[in-house]
Point group: C2
Chain length 748, copies 2
Amino acid sequence: MLFTKKILVFSLAILMFGVYPQTANAQQTLNDVKEERGLTDADVLAATKTFMPRGGRDEYFGFIGTGNSGTMAVYGIPSMRIYKYVGVFSPEPWQGYGFDDESTLMLKKGSLDNRLYKYGDMRYPALAETNGKYNGMYLFYSDGANSRIALLGLDDFETKQVLMHPLFINAYPGVAVTENTEYVIQTSQYPTPWDGLAADVNADYDSKFKSGITFWQFTDEESEAGTGHHIGRMIKEESFTLELPPYTLDFFDAGRMDSYGYVVGLASKGGNNYIYVVDFNTLSTLGTKPVNDFAVVSIEDALAANAVAMIELPAPAKSVKVNPDGKYFLTAGDESFVFDFAKVKDAFANKTYSGKADGRIPVMDIAVVKHGSIILGDGVMDVVFEYRPGVVYSSVFNHKKIIRWNYETLEKEDELVLTFKPGQLMVPQGLSAEPHSNYLTVVDKEGLYENFANIGPVRPSFQHLIDISTDEMNDIYTMSIPQANLYGSVAVLRSTIKPIIRYPLGTNTRTGEISIYKTVAGQEKIEREGNRVHIFGTMIRSHITPEIVEVNEGDVVTFHLTNLERAEDETHGFTVDTYGVHGSFEPGKTASLTFTANRPGIFPYYCTEFCSALHLEMEGILLIKPKGWKGEKGEVEIKLTDEELAGYKINYEDKLEVIDATQDVINSVVTFLKENNYQDYPYVNALVEDAFDQLGKAATSKENHEKYAAEGKWKDAFLWAEQYWQYQVKTADAGLRAKKLLQEKISE
Amino acid sequence: MLFTKKILVFSLAILMFGVYPQTANAQQTLNDVKEERGLTDADVLAATKTFMPRGGRDEYFGFIGTGNSGTMAVYGIPSMRIYKYVGVFSPEPWQGYGFDDESTLMLKKGSLDNRLYKYGDMRYPALAETNGKYNGMYLFYSDGANSRIALLGLDDFETKQVLMHPLFINAYPGVAVTENTEYVIQTSQYPTPWDGLAADVNADYDSKFKSGITFWQFTDEESEAGTGHHIGRMIKEESFTLELPPYTLDFFDAGRMDSYGYVVGLASKGGNNYIYVVDFNTLSTLGTKPVNDFAVVSIEDALAANAVAMIELPAPAKSVKVNPDGKYFLTAGDESFVFDFAKVKDAFANKTYSGKADGRIPVMDIAVVKHGSIILGDGVMDVVFEYRPGVVYSSVFNHKKIIRWNYETLEKEDELVLTFKPGQLMVPQGLSAEPHSNYLTVVDKEGLYENFANIGPVRPSFQHLIDISTDEMNDIYTMSIPQANLYGSVAVLRSTIKPIIRYPLGTNTRTGEISIYKTVAGQEKIEREGNRVHIFGTMIRSHITPEIVEVNEGDVVTFHLTNLERAEDETHGFTVDTYGVHGSFEPGKTASLTFTANRPGIFPYYCTEFCSALHLEMEGILLIKPKGWKGEKGEVEIKLTDEELAGYKINYEDKLEVIDATQDVINSVVTFLKENNYQDYPYVNALVEDAFDQLGKAATSKENHEKYAAEGKWKDAFLWAEQYWQYQVKTADAGLRAKKLLQEKISE
């Protein structure tokens, strides 16, 4: 164009609106942009370290517990882009979690009273481990508010199991796992009685209020479906709880390698602060008694077996973590202690105790079991490891600092001064035996106006990304985490996780098995027994089959729907208007939606997820016939005028031409692929498989459009031709992507 | 430090784990980082255009409807950082939306059957306007799935009203407003009968199925609380619906200025495609009849008054929008039409009709009312305006292009070729009379593995930011939008919105009025009448008052809680374990949580939002006494051992020293502020007010800790001293921020 837009727009805007338009400068050079936006060289460097172009890959996946939202946030490091919120302890409509029968059953089965709990309080997750290393298969959360524990599968990022604790009324909202995920450990937070009865808060406190540490046994088996898919579950019957006196319990961690089987955690009571040390290897040999049908090791038995001790701390600590090789455990506190597991084991073995806590639990003298300590400042909140032996980072809340120090030499190495009070820290791979050392995240609780745009009284959580890959620590990104009270998180190397793209057709995603309600194209049906109606339906661009359903007022109705798509990212939603019936169906998934048809009338049902240009056509009608209604059974076809029919005929004929042209493209792509041995390249092969899969589905659409055309049913003919073309387009699209990739591979 | 870390860490990592650590290079120069991360110069420029350092401010707030999540996402442009999800049509635990009595009452009152609907289908929001310009006060959404309409207040970004449509079973999930927000317009999408009865889908379709356009009257008044706060509401009794034959309705828009009072929208029936044109000015003079207690203008009356016409389109369109000055309206379609409102008005006035749609609605010939048309390619999805007269952007889905063209000259200006199929477009201020021209966002529905990391079968929505501030369009950011099916959005200049930081003390945030349950410090109480128990409580760091509540099994219990905080971002959460009782309390907010105490036992209640270092101390105990229980009434104080008491005494004395030191800091700040006339600087003044407000609250804590110390109750003395110090710290903190700002202001 010939004009200088900057000047032109300025004049025009004044002319038109009498206002100065927002920056309309020619932002062409880096320096121009820097200057205009008031950025420093450090800002530009930080921007470059975190910017993620389309096609780029984050190095790590981070997982956040969003507090009382009850969902998990999945984000990428270093882009700090949030990819997903996954319903864990709260119903979540986007994925139909707590809406479809399968997820609702899972949630209710895990509760003690068949209730659907609606929120949670989840903070510190734990990733499953093999030999102390993250295996990328599972993730666990504890719900403090409703005393539940959850298992998520990382093949599809879905919640697979939620169990309510049979004893605790309140749980600590964090978990830890043993080094081969033999057990998932959960503790109580605030003490309560376990018998479900009331107690006098004063007189009964020591006798009736209890705390506990629970070892949930975990097993992982390959699915019987033969897909190689793994199904992990916590087994309540094989799990047990260690009973403790009424301590308020806080952060804890599990030993590994040399300290395998030990659990260390923070406990307080009446102004005294402790670390509890529990020897699981001994505990697991002891007898249990059932309380609320759950196995409990009594504190008396544990003490008699010398399996529990306390280390008294001079002041409260905020965190306690086991180091990567399991030789030490460290606290975060105004005096931060480094404890030596070897010394703790000696103290156990020789019963080197200096007194008793609560009149009965042996206390180890801090001087006997510590390696040393360091004073880093006021309000030390957290400590995290990196891969260099001895090197850790601590956040010092009141001094607005992150300090790098060495827990072997007990010397400070470096510090980063921040503009905010730092909270919880996280290093990718940091709670495993293999911490990495590129990045450190730090929670910034201060959503103050001076730092962020005001968005009303309630603010998101913020977390900063610190580049620790060089000697100098650098704060390079401030991330906003909406709908969350962020405390802790974990992150794993992205490539450790092997997510699937689609489910085997007909999968009940909560159990990992093929659903008995799986329905394939052409097998759709409606079955009735008394007032119980089952609809076996399918969804594929751009049809929900069946398209009309008639039931009687008072019927109990279930839509069992299968998404037949095999293409990537081709989720269909499903809702019945005003009926609270709602689900999300990813490619291959089968789920069921049950409701009582207690209000008569006409209720459209439709796809709620934009799926193609004909998304609006994915609609059907539910007719709920009132008691005593005399109407005729509706025909599926809506009567059309001659003019309308003629219109559809033209549309149909136009579409046939487009179909021919599209087929030419497909043919040329197929020729290229075959000539170039596409099957030698796995990802290309997967794309081609996807493309052929589309073609396979297309046959029925073709038969249908030809059949309806022959019958002069031009609307149906057009819609099926449109659908056939959709398959073609997707086939061509997948094929062209495969071709492009193949060309790249060949030229490599 | 002396060693070269790069080399050291490499060796150590191999030694320790036998693995090559993740990139541990010295990423010091821009070029190093560029090369390592494989970025181009264009990437670095794009990064620099969107990077937002702490303290930076986005130019625009964008608002997204998240589809079936039923929540609104608020994000910043150009940082593309999501700040908030706000519960609109779905319960949302993070903010206690649909959990506390106030929001639950609002949601149920708006429904027709007192039900709490659990999800929505919300896509295209509309911002409130004054003289056709966004006024930054309100935002509206339509829920397609459950036929509701919602009003959000932008002073606190909360949902203020949700109404269920008395006629529609299914609504189009978009809204439009008239130029002074006199009316909020909502339409049906799929036709259904309006009488709530069944109908034969075939025989009754034309006689019983209906569509409609609803004009919700909107009023905006200043709150009686005298805070200057505005309360806007839709008035159902003053609203009405225009009845239409059973057309499937799609995107629509409202006229402005010259075309004020017209509504244009997409309609289809039996393969025919139309734009409906409705003349509201005439409609509003017509009589109505009630259907389901809602005023309806019959199609017969509307036709008799010449207030409705159709323009027949040769092919389906995907969007229709009125241009900034209200002279034209444009469609997005394979042939995109520009219609001239002056010609439409003439056609109405002279009844220049070429036929009838559905046998009765006058049809305007496209040739008579169009200004012109342009063919841009296959699958044109959307069209948006910028501030230069005539300039628009269209997304061409199948050709992966955004085309800039001129709707006056009907000429193409420029195009941007993308790597994905573009969907809906949005320009900040774009649906107002004053569109801006820095940025364009475009929906990218293709969450394919080749472009993004695989995160399982279900993917987020993506949207790209296009820099349109220069002659060349540039794709500068790819944003992930989790938990959303993104279709449309709107964005407003950030400074147009004036969000509050805190509420007037005791605010019922849903009504904007001061709650009758407002409770101030010292006025906490428990009232009982029969089995009805009201707890009037307060929350402030680090106490929930009362700390023990005793009720009887079967009591109906309400916690009415007021957050006494005046500090910024000092939200407290509240939950009663395993009881489904949960709320979020921003500074100043009063909300109520009602439940039936149907399970006896001890249930801790606590703050679920990290609020200070003593967050864990914000705990209380609810004792639900079983029927026939003989326990003593619990004392509030838990019995302590002498040793524990002595420990607290030391803690208390230490704290007193800290308090003295903190007071010195406060005194010096106060002196500086006074000497430098802080009250002359509004924002400084607000910070100082905040600081003094803290001090005001502190008096009671001081009295308490001194009283308990005198009584030898060292635990209480310590906790109250701790709380006094919390006030001091916050006072000092606010004061120091005020001082810093004042220093900056003085030096300006």
